[in-house]
């Protein structure tokens, strides 16, 4: 009996391993297609294709400055990626991360300019305020879904458009620097700014927060009851409900937490990189988070690596645009293509079928050899 149980266990393990391997292969294939497509687009459009491709592929590691700046780009998208992991794990397509990132920056600027606190405390207060405000706003689509049955996705998109206007209104009517030519806030006091870990680079204290949040989110999602409830709700909400999970609380909690993450990321971006608030549009960090959440299969563990890929691509594209005049917007085309191939369950399905067949034949042979009959 014990023997049989063991065998069954190994069989399931192998099937899981096979699934994992196929998923990995599919991810790898999708990324390759993405990179290949970038190269094709560059050759189609650029006047100096070889030069452009060079900057795209090795630009970020060509010198230390570029590398630091790439890491600077990595920080915010790790956090928005985690935010999306949390929200999408509950199967809630709340897209407020995009607006929350922007509004987090607004709130942080407002707090930084209106209260004066000692250096260590000031940024913490700004970031927590941003997280709190965004969590409250992020609850709106969650409540729309849970209390009213309306689409949280459409709600969160509308909220993104509205929050952009609210943010610009707040900055331009209450915190604008009238002497500046363009729409920017007053200068953020030094006490509120995040310290640079490496002088004169884009690497600020937010990187520590990003690493800690990755670990915390992984622990939360995979080692605690709450995380289990969130994932269970995402996989099968009817089952979760019968198992005694409070669906309303879980979905609300996950969306508020995700929005808070995105808000905090926006706050840190402003306090870490700029001396004034100068965004006049949504920044796209929330959408990058969506790409990463999917790329990482909603598992926080894989977010840093996925974010590194995207940051590398973005930095490479940036350098290319500076050096050769090639536009950076093609990255979103690449993102879209990668996502589609990544999510294509039918990609490699024949290969998977073959491998599964092989595996089950092997297992059967093993069982017969050990003298175990295939009867229950």
């Amino acid at each position: 009996m014990a023997d049989k149980f063991l065998k069954k266990r190994t069989a399931i393990m192998s099937q899981e391993m096979l699934d994992k391997r196929i998923a990995l292969l599919r991810t790898f294939l999708a990324l390759c297609i993405g990179v290949l497509l970038s190269v094709v687009i560059i050759f189609l459009v650029s006047d100096v294709p070889l030069e452009s491709v060079k900057y795209l592929l090795i630009g970020p590691v060509m010198n230390l400055n570029n590398f630091y700046s790439m890491i600077g780009m990595w920080i915010p998208i790790v956090i928005t990626g985690l935010a999306i992991c949390i929200m999408f794990s509950a199967n809630q397509f709340n897209l407020f991360a995009e607006g929350a990132f922007f509004f987090g920056g607004v709130v942080a600027t407002m707090v930084a300019l209106s209260v004066s606190l000692p250096a260590g405390l000031h940024p913490v207060v700004c970031i927590l305020a941003a997280a709190l405000v965004c969590a409250v706003i992020g609850a709106i689509p969650a409540l729309m879904r849970y209390k009213l049955g309306a689409s949280e996705m459409v709600g969160s998109m509308l909220l993104n458009y509205a929050i952009l206007q609210i943010g610009i209104f707040l900055i331009s009517y209450f915190f604008r620097d009238q002497s500046a030519g363009s729409l920017v806030s007053g200068i953020i006091p030094d006490t509120a700014r995040l310290s640079k870990l490496i002088p004169k680079s884009d690497i600020h204290a937010g990187i520590i927060v990003a690493v800690i949040l990755t670990v915390v989110t992984y622990y939360l999602m995979y080692k605690t009851r709450w995380g289990y409830q969130i994932r269970l709700t995402g996989q099968n909400d009817a089952f979760a409900k019968y198992a005694g999970v409070s669906i309303g609380f879980v979905t609300l909690f996950s969306q508020m937490l995700g929005s808070a993450f995105a808000g905090a990321a926006g706050a840190m971006e402003v306090l870490g990189l700029y001396n004034r608030f100068s965004w006049t549009n949504l920044t796209g960090h929330g959408w990058d988070g969506v790409t990463l959440g999917i790329l990482a299969g909603r598992n926080p563990k894989y977010i840093p690596a996925a974010a590194l890929f995207l940051a590398y691509l973005r930095k490479g594209a940036d350098l290319m645009s500076i050096k050769t005049g090639m536009q950076t917007d093609f990255v979103s085309i690449i993102q879209a293509v990668i996502l589609v191939f990544l999510l294509a369950e039918n990609l490699l399905s024949k290969y998977k079928q073959k491998k599964t067949d092989e595996l089950s034949r092997q297992l059967e042979a093993a069982t017969v050899m050990k003298g175990g009959a295939l009867v229950e």
């Binding site: 459009v45 397509f93 897209l95 709106i140 729309m144 009213l148 049955g149 309306a150 689409s151 996705m153 459409v154 709600g155 998109m157 509308l158 909220l159 458009y161 509205a162 206007q165 609210i166 610009i168 209104f169 331009s172 009517y173 959408w287 969506v290 790409t291 999917i294 536009q327 917007d329 093609f330 990255v331 979103s332 085309i333 993102q335 879209a336 293509v337 996502l339 589609v340 999510l343 294509a344 369950e345 039918n346 990609l347």
Partner: protein
């Protein structure tokens, strides 16, 4: 306050309501068809951007507004087909597939525009065509009403006719019956010999065509250029309008007009001394609130229906 009222109760306000309802209505109809086929299509925003862009480019290079319009609409249909392939053949989750298409629409258009013109974000360097406006005989001579209803862009009239066409298609034609059948239960439809893939594909292509028309209207009717993010969330508002209209073309028309009014109020208020950002916010907030109200009453009605049933 009197100023505001005078602005709102004017002929030009009525005219601008119809003008602003057009893209929302087309997006809503697009959503109705795909929802009826059982697919959560959220690509209106992206498809509209792609078509708006293609319309401008083709009309500029061919110097024919009509050709630009037709190619833009065809491009919308092509996006619909692409989406159906991604969702039905590659088996990608419909929402995530939609997000990718939207990403493609927002970033891809800006990128190709730059590659073609060397200008970032706006197409004013292209001499693109504009679809003609139409004066309706007889009606244009009626006082007040004539000034509101007549003289619109031809795409606006197509949009309002499309409400009837979509209704007719869905509820009076065999194809519509098949579309609704695969939407209600794909397995049941399959068991009576309906080709599910084909039917859903057709629905998505039709849906793309309607979104494409909405996009063409934005860049070749509403204004005469393409700009980054020119649709400004109208695809999403259309989705909300379709949900409020219970996925029915005729009731979706009513909710679209409602959002058109909100849009027109925002446009009108911009001439008065109110912070422009707060005014620009109106359409989105109005849609959000309307969505909540509708969902609330819808839920109540369903609850009542359930208890009455017992």
């Amino acid at each position: 306050m009197n100023d505001i009222l005078r602005l709102i109760f004017s002929e030009s306000f009525g005219f601008s309501v119809i003008r602003l309802t057009t893209p929302i209505l087309l997006a809503a109809l697009s959503s109705v068809i795909s929802e009826r086929a059982g697919i959560g299509n959220i690509t209106m925003e992206g498809t509209m951007l792609i078509s708006a862009f293609i319309g401008v480019v083709v009309s500029a290079y061919s110097t024919s507004a009509w050709l630009g319009f037709f190619v833009a609409v065809a491009a919308g249909g092509a996006v619909g087909y692409l989406l159906s392939y991604i969702i039905l053949k590659l088996k990608v989750n419909d929402i995530l597939a939609g997000l990718s298409v939207n990403l493609l629409g927002s970033g891809g258009t800006v990128f190709v525009l730059f590659a073609l013109t060397g200008v970032r974000g706006i197409s004013t360097s292209l001499r693109s065509g504009v679809m003609p406006s139409v004066d309706i005989p007889v009606i244009k001579n009626i006082p007040v009403l004539g000034n509101i209803i007549s003289g619109h862009n031809v795409i606006t009239y197509i949009a309002f006719v499309a409400v009837f066409l979509v209704w007719f298609l869905l509820f009076r034609m065999p194809l519509g019956l098949r579309i609704r059948a695969v939407g209600e239960s794909a397995d049941a439809a399959k068991s009576v010999g309906i080709d599910v893939y084909k039917t859903k594909s057709i629905a998505l292509v039709l849906s793309g065509i309607l979104s494409g028309m909405g996009g063409a209207y934005m860049s070749m009717g509403y204004v005469s250029w393409f700009a980054k993010n020119i649709t400004a969330g109208r695809g999403w508002i259309g989705l909300a309008a379709a949900a409020m209209g219970g996925q029915n073309p005729v009731t979706s028309l009513i909710s679209s007009v409602l959002f058109g009014i909100a849009d027109a109020i925002a446009n009108t208020l911009q001439t008065i001394n109110i912070p422009s950002q707060l005014v620009l916010m109106i359409p989105y907030i109005a849609t959000l609130i309307a969505m909540c109200f509708y969902a609330f009453f819808d839920m109540k009605r369903k609850k009542r229906g359930r208890t009455a049933g017992k």
